[in-house]
């Protein structure tokens, strides 16, 4: 009769071990920068563009331009000039750079394939004005199927 008290208790150790394994997995693959990517943009397909992992690049600024020419960053519509100026000032302050010096930040431009050149060029010129020189124009690799239907 002495052993009856311990019979009903589940052993939580293996469950805890599995949970820690799962936590470790999700911590390793966590990518908070992916939150800055607007998934509803349809990027142009370019044959020679190759997937490049920009995770090693320390300083990135992701700009999404939708087909109406609106700049979207951090999930919200942003005024072009004010947003880019704000980001440039932050980079300059962090890197102790003088105004007029080239900024080391890589500007990642994700524009919809229907975006007009005037809207894209406005963003590029504003970035150039504030010292950005390095740009990465994102495309879809050829052969990638899109899950959502669209025009």
């Amino acid at each position: 009769m002495a052993g009856l008290e311990s019979e009903g208790k589940p052993n939580l150790t293996p469950i805890l071990d599995m949970v820690f394994q799962l936590i470790t997995f999700f911590m390793v693959v966590a990518n908070f920068k992916a939150a800055s990517i607007e998934k509803d943009l349809q990027l142009p397909v370019v044959g020679s563009a190759r997937p490049v992992d920009t995770r090693g690049v320390e300083s990135l600024m992701v700009l999404n331009i939708d087909k109406d020419g609106n700049l979207r960053a951090m999930g919200r519509r942003q005024p072009v000039r004010e947003f880019i100026e704000q980001e440039a000032n932050a980079v300059r302050l962090a890197g102790h750079l003088e105004f007029g010096q080239e900024l080391p930040t890589l500007v990642v431009v994700r524009a919809d394939r229907e975006t007009r050149f005037r809207d894209f060029n406005r963003v590029i010129r504003t970035c150039q004005e504030f010292g950005f020189r390095q740009f990465a124009l994102k495309t879809e690799p050829p052969g990638k199927k899109r899950a959502s239907g669209g025009s």
Binding site: A34, T54, A111, N121, I124, R133, F135
Partner: protein, 178 residues
């Protein structure tokens, strides 16, 4: 009866794992909710300086002689024109300025530019892409793709050998009209 010294009652120390498991589940739920795999995307990396003066007159580069009243020499520029009729599609493709050479397709543009940049005696210092404002971004990227795949030939002054490098100076300019 007194208990013997040294005989200790066996006290079982139980670790309450329920609380720790609860916290672990909280953390797991957080990481699952914020898990967002980055999409696989290609990219074209460019260095885009602002377009510089491209006058063909002048004798010396700007800034060389502050006392000179001469017109400073601009950069040798190849202009590639991409014009639309307002629909967003490419209506005409050409390169050059005064006597622009028209081409029908991107493949023809690629062929011509490969010939130009493959000759070290035509050392263009910058390429300006002059584009109609209504051109669709997808069409623009097709032209940019052609330009970024070009290899520019230069003669190394020290060794005298031909060195190939990708096009490094590309600028965008918005053309007037549609």
């Amino acid at each position: 009866m007194r208990r013997r010294r040294g005989h200790r009652s066996q006290e079982e120390v139980e670790l309450n794992l329920a609380a720790m498991l609860d916290m672990a589940f909280q953390l797991l739920a957080f990481f699952i909710a914020t898990f967002r795999p980055a999409p696989l995307e290609g990219q074209i990396t460019l260095r885009l300086p602002p377009p510089e003066a491209r006058t063909t007159q002048g004798t010396q580069p700007a800034g060389e002689n502050v006392n000179s009243a001469e017109i400073p020499k601009g950069l040798k520029t190849l202009v590639v024109n991409v014009f639309s009729d307002g629909s967003g599609e490419i209506k005409s493709l050409s390169f050059g300025e005064e006597n622009a050479t028209q081409v029908e397709t991107l493949a023809a543009l690629d062929l011509n530019l490969t010939k130009i940049f493959g000759d070290p005696t035509y050392p263009y210092e910058q390429v300006i892409l002059q584009v109609s404002p209504s051109i669709r971004y997808e069409r623009l990227m097709e032209v940019v793709d052609v330009l970024t795949r070009l290899k520019v030939a230069r003669v190394d002054k020290e060794t005298g050998r031909t060195v190939w490098s990708p096009l490094s100076k590309l600028s965008f300019v918005e053309a007037a009209g549609g």
